[in-house]
């Protein structure tokens, strides 16, 4: 295979053009007659279909999007065994061939972009632009890690002396378990899976129970592109299937993106050694993401960026903003404008162009956010909410801005994962940094400020994995904003970055003596 061209991000759809919007609508028309999808337990060449798990449209819970089988513990064992067999073959496939297959999978997705976006709209209530962006990100991950694996296979240079040849290379680790969330229902499972596969591991994917249909498409894309059936299996299900997979002694690497409590339980379970190895966990967990607004900020930029960071996709991104720490000199003006901007947000069905806030993923999520909203009203003050005209069907929550909350309020310290934003007044930027310092999360953060000295100071002190200056804090792009958090937000790995594949390999060094009879031969 010839060298791959330089990586470029897949261009997201130019939805400002009516023709592009029409293509997406045509994708929906093509998808709808195929629903509900039947999602199998898919191990090697064997498919078992059964209607055990139902995924529905969050905007219309009567609409069934996918009917999925649920993997049993025996099936989890089967999947890991298949993956062990698959590993032997896949790890020996030349890296250029593996890269080629991943690039084929990217092409498969590319040729079905509109239908896949439509599936995300239906199954996860991703608004069109977000859904299309997610499919593009999945394509990016495939293209990016394919290139990364080829580069990694060249190894790293070592010092050499006469009579000795030193080489360092990276070998795949073995079976990789991928446990993925529903909020980026194709991109995140594809990203973790593609990284594992690119590096030569075999993968067993357990997608979120809320988005089995999207998870199925991930595996389908990879298999259609040429990944051997034993090298990629799908075990849909709920928590038990995931737990069985994590605990399986045949698993070497666990790549997880999801909530903090589940992540910590995975890290604990993975402390137990595997058959002959230590398990490694790559985990991306929650956040409590703060945007600092300094007194010199341009509020014309800050307000729309804050509102989009907090409310796009109903705040259900791990990168979403949940706190604004505003310098006291501009706090009142900022709060008034943010509140006014929230009052005109368009809450509606994900399949409608131009909506800002879709429903949240499920009833539990709706109830959770409502609890925090009620708490925010009791402990502080609701500065704005967009409550009127909410569809009465579907898991809608009014986008809300709260303020005047006590420092120890759960609203300020726990991950809510919904359209609720807290605004706080601080003396200055340093006071804001003190509050950020108190958090156990460190995923994303934002800063609106036009003084280069202050920017420098915040960059030094803010512990977050991704800091955004004078722009929204969501929307990380593969290769441009390698993504991942620190502290309890994650293991500090950066998806879509130059170091990510290193977590899926083990380094090996070979030193060969080239001296024979006193001569260097």
């Amino acid at each position: 295979m010839t060298d791959l061209p330089t990586f470029v991000n897949e261009p997201i759809g130019e939805l400002r053009r009516a023709t592009v919007r029409d293509e997406l609508l045509a994708g929906m028309q093509k998808l709808e007659p195929t629903l509900p999808l039947s999602v199998p337990v898919w191990i090697g060449d064997g498919k078992r279909e059964r209607e055990q798990l139902t995924s529905t449209d969050p905007g219309d819970p009567d609409r069934v999007v996918a009917l999925s089988a649920v993997a049993t513990t025996d099936e989890v064992d089967d999947a890991v065994e298949a993956a062990q067999r698959g590993f032997t073959r896949w790890s020996q496939t030349p890296v250029t061939r593996r890269a080629e297959i991943l690039v084929n999978a990217a092409a498969w997705l590319r040729s079905r972009r509109a239908e896949l976006a439509a599936l995300e709209v239906r199954e996860c209530a991703k608004p069109w632009s977000e859904a299309d962006g997610d499919v593009c990100e999945a394509i990016d991950f495939l293209e990016f890690y394919a290139r990364g694996a080829v580069a990694l296979a060249r190894g790293k240079p070592l010092f050499q002396v006469p009579g000795e040849r030193n080489e360092m290379h990276y070998a795949p680790r073995g079976v990789c378990a991928v446990i993925s969330p529903w909020n980026f229902p194709i991109a995140i499972p594809m990203g973790m899976t593609a990284a594992g596969l690119a590096a030569g591991n075999s993968v067993v994917l357990k997608p979120a129970e809320q988005s089995p249909g999207c998870g199925y498409m991930v595996v389908k894309a990879l298999r259609e592109a040429g990944v051997p059936p034993d090298a990629i299996s799908l075990i849909p299900g709920e928590g038990e299937a995931g737990a069985a997979l994590v605990e399986h002694p045949g698993v070497h690497t666990i790549a997880f993106t999801g909530s903090g409590p589940v992540g910590l339980s995975i890290i604990r379970a993975a402390a137990e050694p595997g058959a002959h190895h230590l398990k490694r966990v790559v985990a991306e967990m929650g956040g409590k993401n703060c945007i600092i607004v300094d007194s010199d900020a341009d509020l014309d930029d800050a307000v729309p960026a804050i509102v989009s960071s907090a409310f796009v996709y109903a705040g259900q991104k791990c990168s979403a903003a949940s706190r604004v720490l505003a310098h006291e000199a501009i706090a009142d003006a900022l709060l008034e404008r943010v509140a006014g901007a929230v009052e005109v947000l368009v809450v509606g069905q994900a399949d409608t162009f131009g909506i800002d806030v879709p429903p949240v993923i499920e009833r539990d999520a709706q109830e959770r956010v409502e609890r925090y909203r009620a708490l925010a009203g009791r402990q502080g003050r609701i500065a704005a909410e967009r409550a009127e005209g909410l569809p009465d069907h579907g898991w809608f929550v009014p986008p809300t801005v709260a303020t005047d909350l006590p420092r120890d309020s759960p609203v300020l310290n726990e991950e809510i994962f919904g359209p609720l934003l807290a605004v706080e007044r601080v003396r200055d930027v340093d006071a804001a940094l003190d509050r950020i310092e108190e958090l156990s999360f460190a995923l994303t953060g934002g800063l609106f400020c036009r003084n280069p000295h202050t920017v420098e100071r915040v960059v030094r002190r803010n512990p977050v994995g991704n800091l955004y200056v004078n722009r929204p804090i969501t929307g990380a792009m593969v290769g441009r904003q390698p993504f991942g958090g620190n502290r309890l937000s994650g293991t500090g790995t950066k998806a879509g970055g130059p170091d990510y594949l290193l977590h899926f390999v083990e380094p090996r060094v070979v030193t060969e003596n080239t001296v024979r009879h006193g001569l260097v031969i």
């Binding site: 897949e10 939805l15 007194s295 010199d296 006014g340 131009g354 280069p452």
Partner: protein, 437 residues
Amino acid sequence: MLAIGRDLAAALPGSSRNPIKAIDDKAMDLASQDAELRAALFRFVDVVPACRSLDDLASHLSGFLDEVGDRPPPLQVAMRMSESKAGRTALGAAAAAGVKHMAHRFIVGETPREATGVLEDLWRRGVATSVDLLGEATVTRAEADRYAARCREALDGLVDVYRRLPERPNLEHDSSGRIPRENLSVKVSALTPLLRPDAPELGKRDAAGRLRDLLGRARDLDAHLHIDMESFDSREAVTELVLELLSEPEFQDGPSAGIVLQAYLRDSPELCDRIIAWAHATPRAYPLLVRLVKGAYWDHEIVEARQHGWQSPVFEVKADSDRNFEALTRRLLEARPSVRVAVASHNLRSIAHALAANRAMGGEDGDVEIQVLRGLGDDLQQALATRGLRVRTYCPVGDLVAGMAYLVRRLLENTSNESFLHEQAAGRPLDELLAAP
């Protein structure tokens, strides 16, 4: 065409009054030559209104200058001043005064009332105006209502200003009839917080109420209302909104109203056809005034397209825009009397071309309006007025906070090496400047 161009050039005031040379702040000259310095200067200008004190101002200035590798001597002095409190206060005061001074070249007053003197003076010198109300971005309903209210007041205020002024026949009539003296330019993005690139209907619906009200007011006062065009993101919404509202029977007899066509857009010829077809099919007492511009959001469009991996909606080579401008000029002139044509440019070649094309079609000079920007086109405005042509100067009104986005845009234009004014200032021979793009 060459003859017209040379004649206008001859009517320009002495080269010492050229806008670029005349900007007394030497920083602008320096900025044109040094990209780093230009970035530092513009970032500073941009933040001035948000600074809370002179000390704060100086701290920002030194922060930006820190990032400039090669500092000319005056800036080294500035850096040394920023090391002491007293120095910072002095530096801050000097810098603030400089920026304010710069702003006053481009912005005629903080309020329409304050601008009265300038508007009167221009009229007496044979120059019409279009007033534009600068404002902060509209992100809330209250802000949209406030902007609409300011526009209403401005319309009333303009009537007060202009009714006292003497007759200027060439500014008030063309062969289609009367041209209102009072002329206000408004922005749809300020009339609604709901402009969404992927849902033009949404912003259109929300802005329609406020714009309809303004159109009604303009009709009652017999003033002209011009709807500006902004970035490509809102192009569909703005175009459809304007054409739909002006199709309503209540606006058939007025007001005089207009739309903007941006020649830097690759698809502007299609839009031009659409506008002309609409104008032919929609008879109005006042023909639709089409203001032809190159377009002011070029950098924004290019950056946006690059960041998303899109083909840019604008021509990337300036000569392509210039050529398209001339083609569109001819199309619009041919579409009279269904439309009126305003050619908005500081490019002598583009203007001479429009006047020559009009004459070649047998049109009167008075049937082409030339529009320029306050602060950038002052000399040209003078030359056009001297030759008895109808020139209208776009006059922004607003405070420094609101005006900053506009000011930075103008400064960028002023220091761009590609701009006509820059080439003219650099002493490029007239015949080269007048050559076909």
